[in-house]
Symmetry: C2
Subunit: 407 residues, 2 copies
């Protein structure tokens, strides 16, 4: 008998039929003697609709009230899923984030979990009932309702699995697992049967949309095994676990494309200690999420600093950079929104130094110019022209023979 | 400076424009130095829509989950009203029923308030903020979310006004006050500037749709002054207070029509002690809300018992009566759904015995047959044919000279 936390995303509970299918799946799992805890997101596009309504009423949308509003979406979904379970003879209780014991900080619209006391959830499980927990929400230290942010239901599920000591956390979604690359770009993209937390984290950090990066981080930190799978085909998906040191690692596991960022270059920056610190402090103060950072070698005492930011933050980032650039006597600020980033990810590259060379050669042979490079022990990312992005992904997927890999 | 609890019904917050109008009204009230506490219902027809969704998912609709689902409606409305207030510079905080301190019993879909601890609401008021409380909800002694039932937002407002020691409870709605009768039936129906709790209670008990009867009961018991008024015209409405013994009472204040009930007659019942008790216990056990009860004089040791029930309960009531009728040897059960009830209400009739005679004469002169009669110290109700109902209301409104009354 295993205790399994199952999270169902918005498309998985989008209408009455889908909700009944989820309930039926839970019934089957219980027949196999598993204990099930459910976490559900708001139905379909409901969160978007609530935000649209808020924007219609209010230009300022105060955070506390936005959270009160949008958490209603998950709450509705939990109640409806419970009703569907009752109807097929499965006893079930819905719980808000607060009732499920999620204590968060007071950072509205993007609250962080501080502690979980899932006593009511555990009691329900012990009594043979199915707790259905509203995803992405909690109650703050100030006793206000909080929202954990978009994709927060994945985090709820993983954190709850950890708190309950669950055997497995299943993230049901509208894709059937984690692929070697975006199957819309590369037709031969292959679903991986397993992947390590570190690899998946690098993938989600570089444009792989599901699951939410934060949930992978939490799962990795606490060693909560994940199973990313489809609520439409119900076929086995991708298992995510700690890297097994005895296991033969694939050198490269996946290629991720990302066209969601823009590049900002501050040119002619005096090459003095503390200049970069001042720039990135100014950007942080403006709320800009800087991703990649590259500083060129100094020539004649001046240098260029380039960084990438989400497309929607490019104007704020440019303004902040120009203000500081004027202060420090930089030459200017250049913005390029038409960039793409392609990343090669694989736990095995730690012990295989040729991976980067293959990547650069593949791009060079195709006449694709590399504008920025950044690396981690298990990832290499190159910023290239957005127009070259899909071509780069196809070529790299083939260069690392991912379609034929037995990984 | 007065502390006023203002309740806004579903039509008053039906869309973004209406919500902004409510916020603007609150701003004006604060400029007059009043302290405002808001209670809001779900937007427009949202509660109906949520119930439709529940019925689509689930034929059984378990109470705990239905409450979790529909209370999301009021919650959304509070958040949106707060946003609109923020935008015009009025600090405001939304509170769920639980956050506002409403403790209820565990009777889902129709929970009763056990206690109110409105500490967070009071603190907000003391800090110069506007608390916006979700109507018709609370948290049960079992720590589950509960719904107080349709029309429960009125009860929330009245109970909160009592708990806060507010000076006044204003119930904003889509009518401009309480009328001498239904203005759709009698064109000369007149809005009353004031009425007593007892009279309004009799009116709501006999078909006057607003405010909810339960809230009038609570307001009367605790002496919370009510002002029933329009959120569309914003004109002064009807003040409801304790009856002032020094005040000259109008003999008759209002005529109410009611076509929502059906009549059930159990005929040939043995006239023995305990028979009626067994019948109404059986009906109570079947969940039937019996309203009027009339037992005819016994003839030959058998009698007829007639009672009225809401139209939607007539089948349950008939089945329960037939089962018991067979047991006790009754002759049969006759059902008549096409009845109407007309009631004459007035605090002054206590000291004016001619009121009933006028009512019976008026109906007799018009050839309208009276099937059942029931009275209270300030009300006389007659059950007549449904087809005669509107005619009876027009004639009685005129007979008691309500259009010209200076009440």
């Amino acid at each position: 008998m295993a205790l399994i936390v199952q999270k169902f995303g918005g498309t998985s509970v989008a209408d009455a039929d889908r909700i009944r299918e989820v309930a039926d799946h839970v019934r089957r799992c219980r027949q196999r003697d598993d204990q099930i805890v459910l976490v559900v997101s708001a139905m379909g596009k409901e969160t978007d609709e609530l935000l649209r309504l808020a924007a219609e009423v209010s230009p300022t949308m105060p955070g506390r009230e936005v959270d009160m509003l949008i958490t209603a979406g998950e709450r509705k979904a939990t109640a409806l899923v419970c009703m569907a379970l009752h109807d097929i003879g499965v006893p079930a209780d819905s719980f808000t984030g607060s009732q499920a014991g999620f204590l968060t900080d007071t950072n509205h619209r993007n609250a962080k979990i501080l502690d979980i006391n899932p006593q009511r959830v555990r009691t329900a499980v012990d009594e043979g009932r199915v707790p259905v927990v509203a995803g992405s929400q909690g109650v703050s230290t100030g006793r206000d309702v909080t929202f954990l942010g978009r994709g927060g239901s994945d985090t709820t599920a993983v954190a709850l699995a950890k708190a309950l000591g669950a055997d497995l956390c299943e993230l049901y979604t509208d894709v059937s697992g984690v692929f070697t690359t975006d199957p819309r770009v590369v037709m031969s993209a292959r679903k991986m049967s397993s992947i390590s937390f570190d690899e998946l984290l690098e993938m989600t950090a570089t444009g792989c949309p599901k699951p939410a990066m934060r949930s992978v981080e939490v799962a990795g930190r606490y060693g909560v095994p994940l199973h990313i799978r489809s609520a439409f085909t119900w076929e086995p998906g991708t298992i995510v676990t700690q890297e097994d040191p005895t296991m033969e690692q694939a050198i490269v596991s996946a290629i991720t494309p990302d066209d969601s960022e823009a590049k900002v270059t501050v040119s002619g920056v005096p090459d003095e200690p503390g200049i970069a610190a001042r720039l990135f402090r100014a950007l942080a103060d403006a709320g800009v999420n800087v991703d990649m950072i590259v500083q060129n070698t100094s020539a004649d005492g001046v240098t260029d600093i380039s960084f990438t930011v989400p497309n929607e933050q490019v104007e704020v980032a440019t303004a902040a950079s120009q203000a500081l650039g004027a202060d420090i006597g930089a030459l200017g600020v250049i913005t390029d929104a038409s960039i793409g980033r392609v990343s090669v990810i694989g736990a095995g590259m730690k012990s295989n130094p040729g991976v980067a060379a293959t990547m650069f050669e593949t791009l060079a042979d195709a006449g694709i110019n590399i504008e920025m490079i950044s690396t981690s022990p298990i990832r290499i990312s190159c910023v290239i022209a957005e127009d070259d992005l899909e071509r780069a992904v196809v070529l790299l997927h083939s260069a690392y023979e991912l379609s034929n890999s037995t990984h």
